[in-house]
Amino acid sequence: MTQRNRLQGGLIDRSKTISFRFDDRWMKGHPGDTLASALLANGVRLMGRSFKYHRPRGPLSAGSEEPNAIVALRTGARQEPNTRATTAELFDGLTAQSQNRWPSLAFDALSINDRLSSFFAAGFYYKTFMWPAAFWEKLYEPMIRRAAGLGALSLQPDPDSYDKGYLHCDVLIIGAGPAGLAAALTAGEAGLRVILADEDPLPGGRLNAERLEMGQQASHAWAAETTAWLAAMPNVRLMMRTTVTGAFDHGVYGALERVSDHLPVPPEGKPRQILWRIYSARAILAAGATERPIVFENNDRPGIMLAGALRAYANRWAATPAKEIAVFTNNDDGHRTASDLAAKGVTVAAVIDTRTDAPKSARYEVVAGGTVTGTSGRLGLKRIEVTDARGQSRRIDCGALGVSGGWNPNVSLTCHQRGRPEWDANIHAFVPGGTLPEGMVVAGAAEGAFSTHAALHAGARVAAAIAADLGKTPPSPDLPQAEDAPVSLTPFWHVAGTTRAWVDQQNDVTAKDIRLAHQENFTSVEHLKRYTTLGMATDQGKTSNMAGLAIMAEVAGKSIPEVGTTMFRPPYTPTAIGAFAGRSRGTEFRPVRKTPSHVWAAEQGATFVEVGMWLRAQWFARPGESHWRETVNREVLQTRNSVGICDVTTLGKIDVQGSDAAAFMNMMYCNGFAKLPVGKTRYGLMLREDGIAMDDGTAARFAEDHYVVTTTTANAVPVYRHMEFVRQCLFPDMDVQLISTTEAWAQFAVAGPNSRKLLQKIVDADHDISNEAFPFMACAEITVCGGLRARLFRISFSGEMAFEIAVPTRYGDALMRRMMAAGEEFGVVPYGTEALGVMRIEKGHAAGNELNGTITALNLGMGRMVSKKKDAIGSKLSEREGLNEEDALKLVGFKPVDAQDTVPAGAHLMTRGTPVDAAHDQGYVTSACYSPNLGHHIGIGFLKSGDARMGEVLRLVSPLTGVDHEVEVVSPHFIDPEGDRLRA
């Protein structure tokens, strides 16, 4: 197959020929081609099928506004659905498949929908598929869903990586057309830090698509020369293949750089794309304009495209959809297309100009005051029907038709902070209006200045103003002479009386659909959009919204701005989800925090579990242990019988120091802390201001002006934040300082009857840790292992005689090893979070499952801890009646009546003999385990009036997991309720 529609010239690299495949056909193209230009050059116009009616479609545009030529690029895990052929750069070996067709693009079974289109008018599905009711989910919806969507995902993990980056600049220039280049030149020469970004690989914008002179050179040559000049400036960063996708608050812009999409696969070590967050003091929007079509009967056949696109394919890519073309226009720009194509040797069959005073031409026929009233050609345009000013119709053969209804400034980014465009009656288009994003100015075609001359000067002018504003001396760059044609356009939106005339080509919204929406009172622009799906396709209505508005205005008898305005939301063009996620995927979704003994634990073959960001040892299985519970039982029993060690570094630690530390602590905790003696530790319950328990833990007093607070693992960060709030915002004159030392100290619980003996081998001899010198709840700053500073606390979560010992984090691993060696004679075991949990449930200590954000001190059985003598955070609001009900929930223990039964967490409790329903719910089990010490399952949880129901037998139900049996209410302190072991 030859490139039969390849023209002369163009900006493609003809020195190289590359191969690509579309569906089953291999073809040739050149570097510089897009997939669409190469297909056109090869005589292919049919590139896709529309969404609803499966109409055959070819490219409408030559850029990112493309609604029709949407393909699946690449294969396998890299398959990329819904990719615009008009922006996909051609590379050797590229493969693409057409979408939304079966069995083939040329013959698509679902094009039957097109024949039935009168049944599928806008909103038809709201009016039917309701009977019988069950059929919607069984029949109708599955049918609809089978037809849904355009492209298909590979369903395989994306094999490529994505990066994120952050850039800062004085001015971000969006668009490297004439306005953007002139602005960059000016700002760059003024010494500003400039970023110039454009979605195209080739800077120049329309300068590359036109046959224009600038000064003494071709416009594309000027663009190339200017770009080279800019590239040499150290303060200018050129970012091609970079789409500025969104304008966010305070001058933050999102931008997507397609690093490797023009290559078969990303180079080793390179990402596929980079999501940049650009922080800019100012921004210049120089995004140009998008041509808009005119709506007429059967205006969607492959070969019918925007006139400017036809011209761009010819000038830049040396490609044409056909050797014989026509143009349908309401403005002078359409004539430029005709003359450019004629200059390339393409036959211009006619220019149909809606204006009766259309300019004449010696090179082609002009049908002044004419319209296109019909087309034919099933899979590609063959001829058009033209009706002239006198109403005479005739047919003209052509394989392509360029359509120009004028140009719309690309206002998208001005709308991202909900600025609304305004109607400019001079150019019959919406221009940026209202409030622009902070720091943004608009220049060139994007603000409606369409000539090259105007764009150059606008770009230079706004950049100079910004430079002056930022304290730089603006230069006056040497701008070339360029065309300065005025806009000459007579508005003409659609050919009257049309029915099957396509407004939104991807979503198959017709002029008739818009009229129907109006008839049914969906007249507001938002209703129109939502009812007909106009503008909801992957192009966000860039080529369709205006015509839709114009038709609605006509049927409503209003002006276009009275009907509404076009609005755009980020992103400017659809952006890969992978790019927004960047490297945060897989195991790197979130950082991992490891405890100081992690390496040691891994050496022991520990099983780890995620606890927030932390990885903690869950248990330490030994050879021969066949089930995790066997391991956990051993760890629990050995700890209770001798000694066990657990890394508890993850608990939050907050140092509180200052002469007002005691007053501060008294405010933070609902129970008193001011009178805690130095060298003692106390259990503290911290409430939120609303009276609900926020966290619990111990706080140790090391000096009159020094406390060390511990928090639960989960609340380390929120508690610290809360304490800083109280310190800085509520009591700014308190002399107290806080610092989080969670990561500074490695901390281990050493628990069990032999814990003291073990620690005596670790703690330096001059520190007496006997029960007399260092009783339960004592704390001290000590040294271990011959002089290493450490903190020792006589506290117990397990209910055994226990200590927590802390050393600077870098010694944590060494201390663990030293303690394990020292404990060998006692048969010391390391224990993980599972055994920790079992022991705390056996002891009836509350933890995360109990502190669920709805529980008060009263519920925990600690109502009397809330001091009435002092003002503390949460004490007042905890007095409310709803938090002090007669039958308030109380923390209790449960044991099964039949010792074989479990007491699963999450089960609910019912009084025996009452119905099992929510109205009779008595409470729920929060934590449960098998107790190896008791030999049966136990649980703790909340029960209405629980403290008064000891010994009552309740029905425990978990319909979700099929549990229904009896449990007895018992004290939550299953082990050593008197606390003798603690104090041993």
Binding site: D249, D690, R721, C729, P732, D733, D871, S875, L877
Partner: protein
């Protein structure tokens, strides 16, 4: 968004944690007469203006300052940033 930290200069808002209306500085005195009513109002009712809003942000991934940021809730424009501690003192909070 960017928050112009009075000590550190402009920082991305993602470094901060938001709390709410800066009126939360004015915690009632728990020992005063009618304190419960005052706490219910303090704890649960908000002006929630569409427009200028003084609000508390915590520089959690920074210097741990609580800031009072004056921000327009319609445009997100920030007109003033102060250390909450300075504001609290100025508005009569002490120990």
């Amino acid at each position: 968004m960017l928050i112009d930290h009075p000590l550190l200069g402009p920082r991305d808002a993602a470094e901060f944690v938001y709390k709410g209306d800066a009126a939360l500085i004015h915690r009632p005195d728990g020992a005063a007469e009618g304190a419960l009513e005052a706490f219910i109002d303090y704890g649960y009712l908000r002006d929630n203006p569409a427009g200028t809003h003084r609000e508390l942000w915590f520089h959690e991934q920074g210097d741990r300052s609580w800031l009072v940021v004056t921000r327009d809730t319609v445009t997100h424009e920030i007109s003033r940033v102060e250390l909450a501690r300075d504001v609290a003192r100025r508005e009569g909070r002490s120990k």
